[in-house]
Structure formats: C-alpha cells, structure tokens
C-alpha cells in the first residue's frame, strides 16, 4: 500500500535492536571459534611407507652414485618459500604440472609416477596410462589421497588451486610447489625436482644440457638484428600475447627477437591499435596447433599494414616446447630462434 502510514507510538525498548543483534552475532562467532579450537578432531595423517607400497626398485647399477652424502632425509624450500621435508626417496609421486611429468620422465623416474594432471599435449607418450587426478584448475583430492603418494608436486600461481594444495597438506601429504616465472627458475625447478626424487646429479646434468643449447642459440643470434616479434597466443576474441616481463617475452629475447608485449605485467590482452602501432616484423602463431594459419592472419581486417604481413613473415610454432618450463625448453628455444631467423646457422641438436 503506497499511502504513507505513520508508525505507532514507539514503546520503550531494551536498547538498539541492531546493536543487540550484532552483539549476539559476535558472541556466537567467538563461542564457535572457541569450541572449534577445543573440539575439532585432528585430521588423520598419512605416514608414507617407504617401500611398503609398489615395487621396491633395486638401486640402478647403470650409473653408480658418485655423491657420498646421503640424499635423504632432506628439507627443500619450494617456489612458494615453504620448507618441505622429504624423509625418504619418494617411490610414489603425483605430478600436478605437465612440465613436472616431463622432468620426472627425463630424470628416469617416470615409472614412479602414480597420478598426473590432465594434459592435452601429453609428453612423453609413456605417461598416457598414468591415471589423471587433476585437470586445469581442479584437483581431485580424494583420488590423490587414495593413491597414497609420498610426494606431490603441484603448480604455483594458481595452476593447482591453493585450496587443493592446502587440503593435501592438511591430510599429511608432502607437497612441493613449483612455479617458474622466468627461465632461470626453470633450471632451478629441474634441480629442485631432481633433489626431491633422489636424482640430484641427473637433474644437474639435464639442466646443463639445456644450458648448452641456450648458449648455442645465444652465440648464433649474438650479432643479428633483432626483429620486432609478436607472439600470438590467441586471437579468436581479443588478441592475446606475451605480458611485460613474462616468461614468453624472455624466451623471445633470448631467441634473438624484440618481443612486442601487452604493456603491463598483468594484462594478456593487447588492443589491435597498439599492435599496429608496434608494427611487428615477425608474427609467430602460438595458436597454430588450433588451426590458425598464416593466410587467415593476413586476411584479418587491419592487419595488412603490419610489416610482418606485408613480408609474409607469419610462421607457426610449437607452442608447447616454447612455453613449458620443462626439459624440452632448449629444443623450444632453438625452434623459436629458427622461427624468428629462418636462416639461422645453428649447430645440430644434441650436446651434453
């Protein structure tokens, strides 16, 4: 009824209603917190049983262990700064990032992986049969717990949901979080992973091998002019490219290019105008795997003014090896350098 009605004369009340309401609320919360602190049952902790589950592998005789000091127990600091205690060499590992899966296989412990994250561009193929226990942005805590792992390697920067990591740790699992925002950290992560699984020396060797490849590319591109390179991640809606100071931008720079970036470290979108103004000399199609072809790019409205389009310098790349912070990064850098400088003179692959 829209007609204004005067209120009845207020009867004396016991003080502000809202005040007493909030007060009761506060009391309830405090009481509840106190009760929770006293009464919650402790979560069961899973104690890893070294050698109790799975087959105990005899120590490898192919490469005698040169280091005299015992590798375990060890306390490592992961990429989030958390100290992680690993009491014994892990026999059952869950890998929650595709790069970690590759690293573990490269280190020769691929057969210890009992669960892995979903990966469309799976590598190596031997990883196929391993059960998937996580997807992009989701993690199946129950499945992981059911696998009884003694080490879980998760992805930082929200790759693995932080809630999931917390949950896994709260039930007593050992979780190591890796996150490589730049190339140097990739090497550090390979070494970290190696130490975590008792393959420290192999990891150092792997990292060195990748460094050799990086050095080779650096040497080959040292005196070359650096073309302006735009690395397209996706252009179905807005145009996505490398952010400022990102991993991808660093890779492009190392490959002898001058990366065109979005203008801010947090933005991944680049407005078309900015791209036209930046005028790339080379356009690399990171989305080539999704069927984006050079002719389609050249036909896009407004793109024909770019040097790269006029010169026909639109080339596909295998995005996975360039952006995955794993053992194939050296190969990735090579392919990136060749995409930027097609006539690049690089020694044959394989060194170290």
């Amino acid at each position: 009824m829209p007609r204004p009605r005067p209120r009845p004369r207020p009867r004396p009340r016991l003080g502000s209603r809202t005040g007493s309401r909030l007060g009761a609320l506060l009391a309830a919360v405090v009481l509840a917190a106190a009760a929770a602190g006293c009464a919650t049952p402790q979560p069961t902790r899973i104690t890893p049983q070294p050698g109790a589950t799975g087959s105990a592998l005899p120590p490898s005789t192919a490469t005698p262990d040169p280091s005299p000091s015992p590798a375990f127990p060890v306390t490592l600091v992961d990429d989030e700064g958390t100290e992680v205690d690993i009491p014994a060499e892990p026999e059952r590992i869950v890998s929650l990032t595709p790069a970690t899966t590759e690293i573990l296989f490269a280190l020769g412990v691929g057969d210890r992986i009992v669960g892995r994250v979903e990966d469309i561009t799976l590598f190596p193929p031997e990883a196929g049969p391993i059960p998937e226990v996580a997807g992009f942005g989701t993690v199946n805590v129950e499945a992981i717990v059911g696998l009884e792992p003694d080490l879980v390697i998760a992805g930082g920067n929200f790759f693995t949901p932080p809630d999931g990591i917390e949950r896994l740790r709260s039930v007593g699992l050992t979780v190591l979080v890796v996150y490589a925002p730049d190339v140097d950290t990739v090497f550090a992560d390979i070494e970290l992973t190696g130490r975590a699984v008792g393959r420290g020396d192999e990891a150092l060797a792997l990292a060195d091998a990748i460094r050799v490849e990086f050095d080779a590319v650096a040497a080959a591109t040292a005196d070359l002019e650096r073309p302006r390179v735009f690395y397209e991640l996706d252009a179905t809606g807005a145009i996505y490219g490398p952010a400022d100071e990102s991993f991808l931008a660093e890779m492009i720079a190392l490959a002898g290019g001058d990366p065109i970036t979005t203008g801010s470290p947090d933005a991944f979108e680049i407005p078309l105008e900015r791209l036209i103004e930046a005028d790339p000399e080379v356009i690399l199609l990171g989305d080539a795997a999704y069927g984006v072809a050079a002719e389609a790019v050249a036909a896009r409205a407004g793109w024909n003014v770019m040097t790269a389009v006029r010169d026909g310098a639109i080339r596909p790349t295998e995005d996975v090896i360039i952006t995955r912070p794993g053992p194939r990064l050296g190969e990735g850098l090579r392919s990136l350098a060749l995409a930027i400088h097609p006539d690049l003179d690089l020694p044959a692959e394989g060194g170290g």
Binding site: M1, P2, P4, R5, R7, R13, R17, T18, R21, L25, A28, V29, L31, A32, A33, A35, A36, G37, A39, T40, P41, P43, T44, R45, I46, T47, G137, T138, N140, V141, E142, A143, V145, G146, L147, E148, N157, F158, P161, P162, D163, G164, R167, S170, V171, G172, D266
Partner: protein, 363 residues
Amino acid sequence: MTAASAGFGAARARTRRSLLREGARRHPRALFGAVVGTLAVLVVLAVGFGTVSIAPETTVAIVLHRVLGLETGATWSAASETIVWDLRIPRVLTAAMVGAALAVAGATFQGLLRNPLADPYVLGTASGAALGAAVALLIPVRIVVVEFGLVHAFAFVGALIAITVVYRLSRLSAWSGMTSLLLTGYAVGSLLAAGLAMAMYLSGATLRQIFAFLLGGFEAATWPRLAIALPLVVIGTAGILWRARVLNGLMLGEEAAAHLGVDVRRERAILLALGSLVTAAAVAVSGLIGFVGLVVPHVVRLVVGPSARVVLPLSIVVGACLLVLADLGARLLGDIPVGVVSALVGAPFFLFLLRRAQSGYEL
C-alpha cells in the same frame, strides 16, 4: 480396457495419490520421521561412494572406530581412513547443513516477504557475500584462523553488511515494509553485483577462484569449518523455529498480523537477522548454491500446506536431503558444480509436483 474403466482407473489413482497427500498433511510428524530416515540413508550412501572405491564394511568400520572407538577386527589403510573421515564425512555433513540452512532461510524469507519467489539471496546477501569473497581473494595476504580463511570470513561479513544496509535503507522509504525491503534489496544487490563484476574484471589469475566461489561447492569442507559454521546455523534455525507462529501470522499481511498480536516491526527485524545469519554462514562455507532455498519450501508446502510450524522443520530435512544427494551426484559425475546438480535434480521434481498439485498452485 475400455475408456470408461481407464478413466475410472485414473480416478482411483488420483484418489490414491490424494489419500497419500492427505495422510502426509494430517501426520506431519510421521512424514518428518520418514524424511529424516531418508536423510540418514542418503548420508550413509554419500559417505560410501566416491572417486576411490572403499568397501562399505570398511567405511562402517572406520566410522565406528573413530566415533565409538570400537575395534571390529577389520583393517584398512591410512589413506582409506583419511578419505572417509577427513574428506567425505565433513563434506557430506556440510552439504546437509548447508541444504538445511538454505531451505529454512528460504522458507523464512518467503513467509516474511509474502513472496513465493523469494529465496535466501533476495535481499542482497548473495551479492554481498560474493563481493566479500572477491575482495578477500584479491588481497595478497593469507590469514587463516582455525582453517577459516579470509575468504570465508569476508563472505560471511559481506553478506551481513549487505542485509544491514538493505534493512536500514528500506526504513527510509515511503513504501510499506516488505515491498520496500524487496525493492531496496534488488537495488543494493545490483550495486554489489556491479562491484563484483568490476573486481572480477580486474582480478587476472584470481578470476578462476572467484568463479569457483560463485559456483559453490563442498570440496573445501573440513571439520574446523563445519565446527564454526554449525553453531551459527543451529542458533539461527532454532530462533526461526521458535518464531513459526509469527510467520504464520504474517500470512495475511502486515496489518492482519498486527491485529493477530504480532509485533510486526520487531519480528521483521529479528526474522531478517536470523535468516541472514543462517544464509551468511552457509554461503561462507560453500559459496553460492542456488535453487535449494527457493524450491524446497514450495515442495514442502505443496505436500503439507502453508503452516510454518510444519513447513520449517520439514524444509530443514528436505533441504539437507537434496544437497547431500546433489553433492553425491556431483562427485560421481566427475566433480561438476553442486548447484548444477541440485537444479537438475530438483527442477524436474518440482515441475512434476506442480502438475500433480490438486488445487492449482497460483502465485
């Protein structure tokens, strides 16, 4: 079967159904007992099923051991025990609690606002909680007190702030109480939703987490979180149950309620506070799960009539059943969002009931 006898058969079927409905209406206690029994069965089923298959005997043995300290001679791995006791049971119990809370809050708001389309979120609580959670996720600080993180606390506080603002603003308007509340709730809710959209736009990598909160779910259910939210829900629900009489009185309108002895202004504030408390606690632990708060009270009313004395307790147990079932379904279907499953399960059932309702259910 001739047309006549077919018609007669249909009439007999209708009579049987209506007898069932009459029976339910006249014996609400028996119906309550039946639903509680169903809830118990559902809880057991939900704890027994999951991604990892654990034998039912093992599940029972684990529960008996943890709860009563009984040794049954069965053995199980530490992993099984963790899964059953630390993962599944808190999750199922949280689902039951949230279902109960949302259903009773929905019934309360529907009775209070005399609007069959009201749900627990109608007065801005949803937008307030979501914005609170988004703000918490965007703050680069992680504070956790007894596993109740910043997100949960901010969601809780955000919901309550929203409803307080709505209540205060609605008092200033010239419209009568409930209409004013609804309209103000809509306006404030829209404002907060705009704020949320902005936060999501600026959020970058955190967007997925904010979105996960919005979709709602029980993956993060833990014993400590349950222990904090449960007393709030229990207190709020008890307060509401105590006021069933008031909700009944409001059925014919505010003036009629006043004539029947209801102190409308005071009761409106109290019921709002209790309903919001319960909703905020539910949203804080499980995000925004829709559908339950709106439809469960209607389903209950279709069976037992509008008296709050019966509708409130039944809504509590039916809501709990629905969400436990929905969570089980969500888990078995590959961890899809609970809100999706509850709507998929509940909506057809509701439509079925509507069709069968003897007297057309008009709004």
